[in-house]
């Protein structure tokens, strides 16, 4: 019971130290103010204890100066903490451009992971050391939350949309993975571990793990099987817009707006094609809701992303 007892959680990501510094600052602020209040209350309570039942202390109505003093000081402190916290949160919200990607699907009560190279894992995620990892997450049923305490990282996994978060591990080893959003009966058992490995070990693991085909390749097959390719042709003009070079660029819609083509946009366009119609194309695409699983969606998105890279490669030989 006493082995591995600790008061301070392990720091295993680039963000952990930063979050902990802010946490410690808050601990210091709290200790100072709590200590101050406790001390004053204790001193006053003892020093001014009632000595006779007839004593009538002189009333003090208050002091505007003091009120301003103890309004402005906490205000200043809290605004500083806010600024620091917000800056860090901004960093947490934006995965670095160099991130490797992992897709996460939560369902009652397990975590499913897919690597771009096609490896799949359940309740266990292998990642390389010192490399930012971007997680694109969705849920098949209820809301879950992906929580790795050692990385100080947590984000909800919401059905019907993609959420993203990222981390960069700084220590090798096994780390707890929890679902922190209550999700039903076996909520407490919906966890596993994140295994951080040296780059070399990771490569070995990748090659050893069973991988049928890359996500993009699986997506390409699905793309054909569902008949997408009959309208969305690689070159020339199909009935739908070409998807080459789509990902990461802006798309002009019939309403005159432009939207960024990210995972969420592509997902919406497959499941709810009428929501955002690309300018110059008729709204004829049927919905694929119910015809495609969350994992299938991820594969198709990976395929569409790969079209983008392919085009780049052609442009800059």
């Amino acid at each position: 019971m006493w082995d591995r007892f600790r008061l301070f959680p392990e720091q295993a990501s680039t963000l952990a130290g930063k979050v902990d510094s802010l946490f410690l600052l808050l601990v210091l602020i709290s200790a100072f103010f709590a200590g101050l209040i406790f001390l004053l209350v204790a001193v006053f309570a003892i020093k001014y204890r009632r000595r006779s039942d007839t004593e009538r202390p002189r009333p003090i109505h208050g002091s505007t100066g003091l009120e301003i003093f103890w309004t402005v000081i906490p205000l200043g402190i809290t605004l500083t903490v806010f600024g620091w916290g917000a800056t860090l949160y901004f960093t947490m919200s934006r995965p670095p451009a160099t991130s490797m990607e992992v897709f996460v699907v939560g369902k009652q009560w397990m975590w499913k992971f897919q690597h771009p190279t096609g490896q799949r894992e359940i309740n266990e995620l292998h990642v390389p050391l010192n490399r930012p990892v971007k997680l694109t997450m969705t849920s098949e049923d209820v809301i879950h939350s992906f929580f790795v305490p050692a990385f100080r990282m947590k984000f909800d996994v919401v059905p019907g949309r993609y959420t993203t978060t990222w981390f960069q591990a700084t220590k090798t080893g096994d780390f707890h993975l929890f679902c922190s959003q209550y999700c039903g009966t076996s909520h407490a058992l919906m966890g596993g571990r994140v295994v951080v490995m040296e780059q070399g070990d990771y490569e070995r693991w990748l090659s050893g793990a069973v991988s049928e085909e890359s996500l993009a390749a699986a997506g390409e097959k699905l793309f054909g099987r569902l008949g997408c390719s009959s309208c969305h042709q690689r070159v020339g003009t199909g009935r739908g817009p070409s998807l080459v070079g789509l990902f990461g660029n802006r798309v002009k819609l019939t309403t005159g707006e432009t939207v960024g083509a990210d995972e969420t946009y592509i997902r919406e366009s497959i499941l709810n094609p009428q929501a955002k119609i690309v300018a110059g194309y008729p709204p004829i695409m049927p919905t694929f809701k119910g015809l495609i699983s969350e994992e299938g969606l991820i594969q198709i998105i990976a395929y569409i992303k790969s079209l983008r890279i392919e085009e780049k490669a052609k442009a800059e030989p």
Binding site: N272, P273, Q274, A275, M285, P286, T287, K289
Partner: protein, 216 residues
């Protein structure tokens, strides 16, 4: 205390205090009603901006003529209610009875028309649930629209039914000549409630019937 009129509750000092308290009480209650319906309006605002197309298709399947007639009917009932309150304030018994009857009648007409609309929706399989069917690629989102339609108009109709019940009580008391220029707080306060229910409809009507109609 010198004298305590029979219409004055024991906790109040005078009629004026009682009148002001009742009025304020009703206004506070109406604020809770604003927030109650406001919650649904907030959700509706979000969804109508997320799915304008689907909501326009759903809206297109509502009967605009009946909706407009119903709006006029309800505005009319608000007018007759205001007149009923005025009759009470001026102590005219006959006026109270006639206007209360008219208000009740218009309220019931509104509910009747609403029932007809519900029936049509039922026949057209537009009631959300397992029997819902809508021929459009956006059927799911259209179902969302009809979820709102039934939740919002249903809650509103429930308030109407309560209102008609209150009117019935008022009518009996007015018939007995209980409300005079000196004591008409119940009529005034119920009037506030009735007008509020009218206001809810004033917003429901464009939200549900007119939203993006031009787009279809």
């Amino acid at each position: 205390m010198a004298e305590h009129p029979s219409t004055l509750a024991h906790q109040f000092d005078d009629v004026e205090q009682q009148h002001e308290a009742s009025n304020l009480g009703m206004w506070v209650f109406l604020i809770t009603e604003i927030m109650f319906f406001g919650g649904v309006f907030t959700l509706f605002t979000v969804y109508v901006s997320a799915y304008p197309e689907a909501f326009a298709q759903g809206s297109g399947h509502l009967d605009l003529a009946l909706g407009t007639v119903n709006t006029a009917v309800l505005l009319g009932s608000s007018f007759t209610m205001a007149m009923a309150v005025r009759s009470a304030q001026t102590g005219r018994r006959n006026g109270q009875v006639v206007y209360l009857l008219l208000t009740m009648f218009l309220g019931l007409v509104f509910l009747g028309i609403k029932a007809v609309e519900y029936l049509h929706k039922f026949e057209q399989h537009l009631v959300p649930g397992p029997n819902f069917s809508f021929a459009s690629p956006l059927a799911k989102n259209v179902q969302l629209f009809f979820s709102f339609y039934f939740a919002m108009t249903g809650l509103h109709a429930l308030h109407m039914i309560v209102g008609v019940g209150i009117l019935a009580v008022l009518l009996v008391q007015a018939w007995r000549g209980r409300y005079t220029a000196d004591y008409c707080t119940p009529v005034e306060v119920s009037g506030l409630y009735w007008h509020f229910v009218d206001i809810v409809w004033i917003f429901l009507f464009p939200f549900l019937y007119l939203v993006a109609r031009h787009a279809t």
